[in-house]
Symmetry: C2
Subunit: 255 residues, 2 copies
């Protein structure tokens, strides 16, 4: 394989750097963070700015991500076949379950949320499309880790941070959890990622029967579980039905 294009790799690194740091970054920050000469970093930033991928605050001279990224990210959603097929089914899932519905795919070391349907009530909610979730602690992530070999190695080799007191961090426990997930065909997250929040997810397959994503719901643990602390079977059934429906829509045939 011939070598990748250096200037592009560096441009991508700059964009990721700008995306990571909360605040705007100056030219010198960017150059030193990536070990580049100032002139080099400036040339890349200037081109990125010209193309709209980066914007510069006129007064401070600092850089931040540009609007073109939002436009392209939206175009990505338009083309995304899995998301298009899942739109109507996740809508039904949110309505029938009364909780927020999510569609996630593997991206780098996490789950990228590509679709999110708000919980059907009038509460104020923030859209999480484009956000990342950890593989090891969320229901969506566990499903991907259990069924997608690439996701599995990312989750197994990556760090498993203890996000709450209930997060499973040890390798053996995590593998046991994935075995359970494969045996049941779905995964849960009982306050392992956020205190008070539980979620349920199931895998989505494409026409070649390969796992390509996961759908799930997420909500307050008091609603997702019954009085004994057990996950409500009705919700599990709704999630699995939705996953099957989307898979069928993708051409995976019946199970």
């Amino acid at each position: 394989m011939p070598g990748p294009i250096q200037s592009l790799e560096r441009a991508a690194a700059i964009l990721r750097l700008l995306a990571g740091g909360e605040r705007r970054l100056g030219l010198s920050d960017v150059a030193s963070s990536l070990g580049l000469a100032k002139g080099t970093a400036h040339g890349i930033l200037r081109t990125l700015q010209q193309e709209g991928f980066v914007e510069q605050d006129p007064v401070s001279g600092k850089y931040q991500l540009g609007a073109e990224l939002l436009r392209l990210g939206n175009s990505f959603l338009d083309v995304h076949e899995l998301r298009a097929r899942a739109l109507v089914w996740t809508d039904d899932l949110a309505r029938s379950s009364g909780e927020s519905a999510y569609l996630g795919v593997l991206h780098q070391q996490g789950v990228l949320i590509v679709h999110h349907v708000f919980r059907p009530d009038d509460s104020r909610q923030v859209l999480e499309v484009g956000a990342m979730q950890p593989l090891h602690s969320t229901a969506l992530g566990k499903v991907l880790a259990a069924y997608d070999p690439v996701a599995h190695s990312e989750a197994a080799e990556g760090e498993r941070a203890a996000l709450t007191g209930r997060t499973v961090t040890s390798a053996a426990d995590f593998e046991a959890l994935l075995d359970l997930t494969r045996a049941r065909g779905w995964a849960a997250d009982l306050e392992e990622t956020w205190e008070g929040v539980a979620s349920i997810a199931a895998p989505v397959y494409d026409r070649r029967r390969m796992p390509v994503g996961a759908v799930g719901i997420s909500g307050a643990v008091e609603r997702v579980c019954d009085d004994d602390g057990a996950i409500r079977p009705r919700l599990v059934a709704a999630v699995r039905d939705c996953a099957r429906a989307v898979s069928r829509d993708l051409g995976a045939g019946r199970f």
Copy 2:
């Protein structure tokens, strides 16, 4: 000014090409569309793929936009100060007006929607964040064209397509419309972009009193206008109040 980086410009052109065409594109399509040698296009695509900006369909070999763009677009929203300040006010605007609320900024030759609050009812709506709207026919666009010199030249020099029978296309009429907008301090769009849809928008200023965006509402013309076909003053007031509130939040002071 030293020259921009060629490979980056080409990579950006490829991404825009992939964003524009509805379907996936093959290597040869990309190369011939941009007048590049196949080897060159392949090198850029390979690097973009490695960085997650482009994905390749394993069976057809065709390319489409990648998930990293969604993630970065989301990060752009996180950093966007105008959007952050407008979140709560646009929420109020949607609630008080009963219509969808939008926040738009100038981007290239159009209005980029950076925030969108659904109309507060249970109807199925699609999120338009990341979408582009024309400058010459929408209320948001007219506000920007009226107050932002850059937007004005883009709108004046660009093509003004007749999207409906009521779209204003002639240069003189358009300038008159902008004069009216400046005189009133707000703009309207009465079925000039989509049949049956009317919208109202007002400008948002930053701490230097420069126009940086526009907020507005959009809805069925029957609801936005009264029985005589006149725009409901209550809605105009709500939009202008919201624009003032956001401007104040940005440090523009009182008017």
